[in-house]
């Protein structure tokens, strides 16, 4: 501590150690607000078209009404939330097929309660022609990205959707 250099070094190293400590404590701290747990509803408004490609693969185009409330996932340490909607179904070949059909980034709590009307952003195509009359789930997955700390993911599974029996 006798010279400028030693004192500056002392301030630097202790301040960075404490900064790391602050970030650790911040990553362990939860939210203050008492908000309802995440909820989501997805409504298939319309089957725009449903066809079998020349390659033999089924593809469908949907119009969806997606509404969700993810406000409770936001704390002071949340940077953003990545959210995507996946169509999940079972075929004889694969026990789980997951097709991401819509996604979005929620940058703030003000936008965490949303309702949008959209056609599927990414193509919903099967590896084969297994979609006719197929029962499927729509699952809203989310990945919470904190400013400091561990990322975590969760989902809401919505069941009871069914593809049309004939190509349209």
């Amino acid at each position: 501590m006798h010279s400028y250099g030693y004192r500056a070094n002392g301030v630097l190293s202790l301040s960075l150690t404490i900064l790391a400590l602050l970030c650790t404590v911040a990553s362990l701290s939860g939210g203050i607000l008492n908000l309802p747990p995440p909820s989501a509803q997805v409504e298939v408004v319309n089957i725009n078209w449903f066809q079998k490609h020349r390659s033999g693969n089924d593809e469908v185009s949907l119009t969806l009404n997606i509404s969700a409330n993810l406000e409770s996932l936001f704390t002071w340490n949340t940077k953003q939330i990545f959210v995507f909607l996946a169509a999940e179904y079972e075929t004889p070949k694969n026990s789980l097929n997951q097709v991401s059909i819509w996604d979005g980034i929620i940058p703030s709590i003000e936008q965490a309660k949303f309702r949008i009307n959209t056609i599927n952003k990414y193509r919903l195509a099967d590896q084969g022609n297994n979609l006719r009359g197929r029962e499927f789930n729509l699952t809203l997955h989310w990945h919470v990205m904190p400013r400091t700390g561990k990322m975590f993911a969760d989902k809401i599974v919505m069941t009871g959707y069914r593809m049309p029996h004939e190509y349209v």
Binding site: M1, I18, A26, I32
Partner: protein
Amino acid sequence: MSEENFLREKENTIMDWQGQKLAEQLMQTLLLAFAVVAFVAGYSLGSFQMMLLIYAGGVALTTLITVPNWPFFNRHPLKWLDSSEVDRHPKPQPVKSKKKPTKQK
């Protein structure tokens, strides 16, 4: 430069012992205090950025207070003996040993 002048010079640029202790304690206390204030403020306002800003301000202030050699760190200057003391108390000379160390095999 004589030894005396050199020491005088040193005294002007180097903090005294008490000052060094004070500087270190001040640094630790200030940084910790600012960290606590920053966390409480950031958490209660729900703003991570506010926490970082307050802490950065605290670090800047701590640097300003404890890094420069302020006069209040030098209230306990070392009292060096006058050089005339050297003549009055001559350095004890090492006693010459007659025996030469013999190598042993």
